[in-house]
């Protein structure tokens, strides 16, 4: 058994002068305090990576900087799925008794620490060095390819995709830490600059500075326990050229295994936190996970289904699209927000019932998937 006992999140956007380690430290300190623990009680550290400050041993660099001497520590790299992959590993580590309190931390000054071009270039390297990267693709282009095919097969339109950007922005407007607070419309998304068609600027998540952390513990430390009920991964390919058919992607495999591991059905889920690097990512994953029928996710957005007061509140902090994306920390914000909702601490964003939550992360080009169910126990 394992519990998410504390969470920490910085605002996303510009943190001029803060290093990746600074942002990681800030989030870690908040998470440890939130768990009611002392630094010295942290005996495990899992961290992600920083494209601004790459290092072959980031976990021990962080541990030394932060001032802890863990008995278990290393970095994890699974692209956008890193946060949930670390949480899954922490869950198994504490469950197996390897550590009592594992600090999971990610953070990066990706916006102010390097140029936007440098960020785009660094991320494009998930492509094949010989057969893809020399063709000048970008991450939006990899996802643009997938989007064109998905739209072709399921009759999804650019206006449909725009709905997800509008929804995430509406949610971000209610979170003071979000990078963007100006309202946008479907027309604004449609009129935004083309990036890699069919994806336009407002279909894409921004580059951000920020940090996020949580503590995963063997026992709960507060009155309300947020328990990891079950989780699973699936990895079908790395490069989009080698991706299987749309109907055979890893999200469907991971969620099926997570449901089997946890005994939870989609009909039990009350809150959803789903990776949203691009509007197409969110649309596809919602449908792959069974949170909407094929080609029907946009209609559910229009009907208010995924809003704060809807049947399945989704990414109420604004997601990667509008809270921001600082790399590994980006999707960790989804878990922090889920924890706030499940513990009734989301303030004006609080949903009626977040007793069981589904989280899903995606890394690469729909390459690596982690599905996880969290459950509130009192």
């Amino acid at each position: 058994m394992s519990f998410i006992t504390g969470v920490g999140l910085t605002s996303y956007g510009k943190h001029e002068g803060s290093s990746s380690l600074d942002l990681m430290s800030k989030a870690a300190e908040t998470a440890i305090a939130d768990a009611g623990l002392k630094r010295s009680e942290i005996d495990g550290i899992l961290c992600g990576y920083s494209t601004v400050s790459p290092h072959i041993m980031l976990a021990t660099v962080f541990a030394e900087h932060f001032g802890v001497q863990p008995s278990y520590a290393h970095a994890v790299q699974v692209g956008g799925a890193t946060g949930l992959a670390m949480t899954m590993l922490a869950h198994h580590l504490v469950d197996a008794g390897v550590a009592k309190h594992v600090l999971v931390v990610g953070g990066e000054n990706r916006l102010t620490g390097q140029s936007r071009d440098a960020s785009i270039q660094a991320l494009a390297q998930v492509g094949h060095p010989d057969y893809e990267v020399s063709l000048g693709p970008t991450i939006p282009a990899y996802y643009g390819l997938v989007a064109s095919r998905y739209m072709h097969e399921y009759g999804v339109t650019q206006e449909d995709l725009a709905e997800f950007a509008v929804l995430m922005r509406a949610h971000a407007m209610t979170h003071p830490g979000a990078q963007f607070h100006e309202p946008i419309t479907v027309a604004d998304v449609m009129a935004s600059k083309p990036v890699a068609m069919p994806l336009k600027l407002l279909d894409c998540c921004p580059v951000s500075d920020g940090g996020a952390a949580f503590v995963v513990s063997r026992e709960r430390t507060g009155a309300t326990g947020i328990r990891v009920r079950g989780c699973a991964q699936a990895h079908t390919h790395q490069h989009v050229t080698a991706a299987p058919a749309l109907s055979e992607l890893g999200a469907e495999i991971a969620i099926a295994k997570a449901k089997a591991a946890s005994g939870v059905a989609i009909s039990d889920v009350r809150y959803a936190a789903v990776y949203d690097s691009f509007t197409i990512t969110l649309a596809m994953l919602l449908e792959d996970l069974g949170l909407a029928g094929r080609g029907e996710a946009a209609a559910r957005v229009r009907a208010g289904h995924f809003g704060r007061d809807g049947a399945m509140p989704l990414n109420t902090h604004g997601g990667l699209l509008s809270y921001g994306h600082c790399g590994v920390g980006g999707a960790m914000a989804h878990l922090v927000e889920t924890h706030q909702q499940m513990t009734g601490r989301a303030g004006p964003r609080q949903v009626r019932d977040a007793s069981i939550a589904l989280l899903h992360g995606d890394g690469g080009v729909l390459s690596s998937h982690v599905s996880m169910f969290l459950e509130r126990v009192r």
């Binding site: 071009d117 785009i120 270039q121 494009a124 094949h128 010989d130 057969y131 893809e132 020399s134 063709l135 000048g136 693709p137 970008t138 939006p140 282009a141 990899y142 643009g144 390819l145 997938v146 989007a147 064109s148 095919r149 072709h152 600059k193 083309p194 990036v195 890699a196 068609m197 069919p198 994806l199 490069h239 989009v240 050229t241 080698a242």
Partner: protein
Amino acid sequence: MSDKLADWTKGAEAIVYQSCSACGNVQYFHRSFCAACGAPDPAQKRASGMATVYATSLVCRAATPETRAHVPYNIVLVDTVEGFRMMAHGDNDLAIGDKVTAGYRPFAGKLIPYFEKKK
């Protein structure tokens, strides 16, 4: 293991793929073994250049000065008649399902495969 046949990744006007004599699997990314069954030394073959468009994305925002000089450029995934999928460039107005044939064009200092609608 025979030397890799020259293809566009080496500056030659050719698309080369591999075919496994043990299981019949075809693969585009060059390896010294078959990724499906593990058998060594898959045969190298030159592709005909005939394909069908699987997906497209017109890149309008590039990240380097060399690639920026070419925007907008259309990145495509095509399914070749030989049975493997590959990434390339193509005409900006290509649609999914179009039958296409390969040519070669310079891009950011390299020669790359470029697909046009079959005449």
